[in-house]
């Protein structure tokens, strides 16, 4: 097992646990991720908080530029390339041994040991994450050899088992296949096998089905849910598709312009969205039940603000049908609107469900 030393592993007091229950697998508090650019500092993630429990899926949903993907990359500490920095906040991971570590302050080498073993990530494009010159079996075996110290033979046997687990037919043969010989759906299954090889406590899936056909997307979603139920893994599912959220997640956090604007159980948020942005997003692509009259798509007026020039007060106010003078004055807090729900809107009571 990897060992993590010299890191604060006692959580600060006063954390919002519902007394006696297990601590969440991941507890993100006031996270800030900033990118320095020539034009100024881009605050890609600005004060984001959420928690994910064992066996639970949290969907993070938003449009391009909302900060949803950067949130996932920040938790994985995969920010290197663009010069992004964690500018504040805490990312508490409860490890398999029960100790908690703050990923925001973990040394690179320690993070390296956690990545792939306790937390893993899958991406939209499996082809760019798979190495084209190695058979897929070797790529599945690699984390097992690295983190679990398995022998070459044992790792290969485990890879065959994992391929069966993710639903590949003829795994004993496919283990020697190269990525280019596989379809997009099969490649995503391989990525899931690699991510799950070391039985991580948390899986971050960033638009894992966006590039797939809908019938294959339905297969991958069913697979992820089955595997998650079996392993009691926590999952963060990052997506632009609010309707997909209903198929995959237990809870949802809606992001707009680097902040969470609404959070709660999926069924409640979809049925009675409290924040005007969540409502507007749902109205963009209405879903109707069989026999129901056809509804027109309703666009959101205006455009997503530039990350370099966010509006004062509520960031959604320039596009919001319910905006009032006080929406411009101060940034609204993400306040509790029901025992298990939060919304960042000062007018949520007046505008009704």
């Amino acid at each position: 097992m990897p060992r993590v030393q010299d890191v604060p592993s006692i959580p600060p007091a006063g954390r919002a646990d519902d007394g006696g229950a297990l601590p969440p697998v991941l507890d993100v508090q006031d996270l800030k991720t900033f990118f320095p650019t020539d034009a100024g500092t881009v605050r890609a993630v600005n004060g984001v908080s959420f928690a994910v429990r064992e066996g639970e899926t949290l969907a993070i949903v938003g449009e391009s530029g909302s900060g949803k993907s950067v949130t996932g990359l920040t938790i994985m500490r995969l920010l290197g390339r663009a010069g992004a920095q964690i500018a504040g906040g805490e990312i508490w991971l409860t490890r398999g041994d029960g100790n908690r570590v703050d990923l925001a302050r973990l040394a690179d080498a320690d993070m390296e040991r956690l990545r792939g073993s306790e937390i893993a990530m899958i991406f939209q494009d499996p082809m760019s994450s798979l190495n084209p010159v190695f058979p897929v079996g070797e790529q599945i075996a690699e984390p097992l050899r690295l983190h679990k110290g398995l022998s070459r033979r044992a790792a290969r046997a485990a890879a065959v088992e994992l391929l069966a687990l993710v639903g590949l037919s003829d795994p004993a043969r496919q283990v020697d296949a190269f990525p280019h010989q596989l379809s997009g759906g099969m490649r995503q299954r391989i990525m899931i096998a690699i991510a799950l090889a070391c039985e991580p406590r948390l899986l971050i899936a960033d638009e894992p089905t966006t590039a797939l056909d809908v019938t294959v997307q339905a297969q991958i979603i069913a697979l992820l849910r089955a595997l998650q139920a079996r392993r009691r893994m926590a999952m963060i599912f990052v997506t632009h598709d609010l309707h997909l959220v209903g198929d995959v997640a237990d809870r949802v956090a809606v992001m707009y312009a680097s902040q969470v604007v609404e959070e709660g159980p999926v069924a409640d948020v979809l049925a009675t969205p409290a924040h005007p942005y969540t409502r507007a997003l749902l109205a963009c692509v209405p879903r109707q039940q069989r026999g129901e009259k056809r509804r027109r798509m309703t666009p959101i007026p205006g455009t997503m603000p530039s990350a370099l020039a966010v509006p004062s007060g509520c960031r959604f106010h320039p596009r919001c049908a319910h905006a009032a003078a006080r929406c411009i004055e101060a940034v609204p807090a993400l306040e509790a609107i029901a025992p298990d729900r939060r919304a960042r809107c000062v007018r949520w009571r007046e505008i009704g469900p």
């Binding site: 449009e63 391009s64 379809s183 759906g185 099969m186 056909d213 809908v214 019938t215 294959v216 997307q217 339905a218 297969q219 069913a222 632009h240 598709d241 609010l242 309707h243 997909l244 209903g246 198929d247 507007a280 997003l281 109205a283 963009c284 692509v285 209405p286 879903r287 069989r290 026999g291 056809r294 027109r296 798509m297 309703t298 666009p299 959101i300 455009t303 997503m304």
Partner: protein
């Protein structure tokens, strides 16, 4: 058939095989359909179903292996190259990536003026006025005329691509995944723009998309393709509320939020076979939960379930 009822576009038995190493890729196989004047036909299907090839075939941007396309009575396959070029003013296309179809070194004004100068022989000043009018039609001001494509957002670029397609006052537009790359809030904006232009100018539209909810929002009728063949074609409300082909049902249930969560959703096994080696008989039978031995024998014909609602499936006993 009276002149008024004659369709704008009549496609008969169109087939396209692309040569490849090994057996040819059967992209489109014996597809026939019509689009009425001012009608929106949605074309849905997954990758490899032939929907993009079909869009290019009906504009004769690729040559069919066999089959014919008649546009308002004119047989497209009979036109010589120069005639076809002139004829194209009646039929235009917009694509998924507007940036790829706009020349980065041409200002928006120049890009919009080019087709009207070519087709209508307008002078420079008149063409610029027409370009400004086109921008206004898609909700953009004349101040954008001298800007380059890179200065615009994705949604704005798609508006410009639409303006350019409208420059020659076409009667028919093929939109190939025209909103697929856009954020949902901008998707709605562009779909509504297309719909209002279609209503204003009486444009006929072939709207190709993998996204069933967008197709539902804009189409009068829709056609479902699988491995190059038509599975089902029906008026939009009828297709979505009473699908008659197992593949259509699977597509509708697989769509996000389209089915019930949990086990009672129809999830297809496997993936789409290669169009180089499509299954015998019904091309969908290898993934169909209702397939019988007979399904491997004959290619099912499109038959009417109800007036205007056709399906290519021999199972008439299913309640989907």
């Amino acid at each position: 058939m009276t002149a008024a009822a004659e369709p704008l576009l009549a496609v008969r038995g169109i087939t396209k095989h692309f040569a490849a190493k090994g057996p040819p890729v059967r992209a489109v196989q014996d597809v026939s359909f019509e689009i009425g004047r001012g009608e929106v036909l949605g074309v849905v299907g997954e990758s490899g179903c032939g929907k993009s090839t079909l869009g290019r075939l009906v504009l004769r941007l690729v040559e069919p292996t066999t089959g014919t396309v008649a546009f308002d009575g004119t047989e497209l396959m009979a036109l010589a190259a120069a005639e076809l070029r002139r004829f194209r003013r009646h039929m235009q296309m917009i694509f998924q990536d507007p940036f790829a179809s706009l020349n980065p070194r041409m200002t928006v004004g120049e890009a919009l003026a080019e087709p009207v100068r070519f087709h209508d022989g307008l002078g420079r000043a008149a063409a610029r006025d027409r370009a400004a009018a086109l921008l206004a039609q898609v909700g953009l001001g004349a101040e954008h005329l001298d800007r380059y494509p890179r200065a615009f957002s994705g949604g704005q670029r798609q508006r410009i691509a639409i303006a350019r397609a409208l420059a020659t006052a076409p009667r028919f537009l093929v939109a190939d995944e025209a909103v697929s790359a856009l954020d949902v809030s901008i998707q709605a904006e562009v779909v509504n723009l297309l719909k209002s232009l279609q209503e204003t100018f009486g444009l006929a539209l072939m709207f190709i998309s993998h996204d069933l909810s967008v197709v539902e929002a804009i189409s009068d009728r829709a056609m479902v393709l699988y491995l190059g063949r038509v599975m089902e074609i029906a008026p939009i409300d009828d297709l979505y509320s009473r699908p008659a082909h197992p593949y259509t049902l699977a597509l509708l249930q697989a769509a996000p939020g389209g089915g019930k969560r949990g086990g009672d959703r129809l999830i297809l096994k496997g993936e789409i076979p290669s169009p180089s080696a499509p299954p015998s008989g019904c091309v969908f039978r290898t993934r169909c939960p209702f397939a019988l031995a007979d399904c491997a024998r004959d290619i099912p014909r499109l038959t009417a379930v109800r007036p205007g609602h056709l399906k290519a499936c021999i199972r008439d006993d299913l309640t989907l």
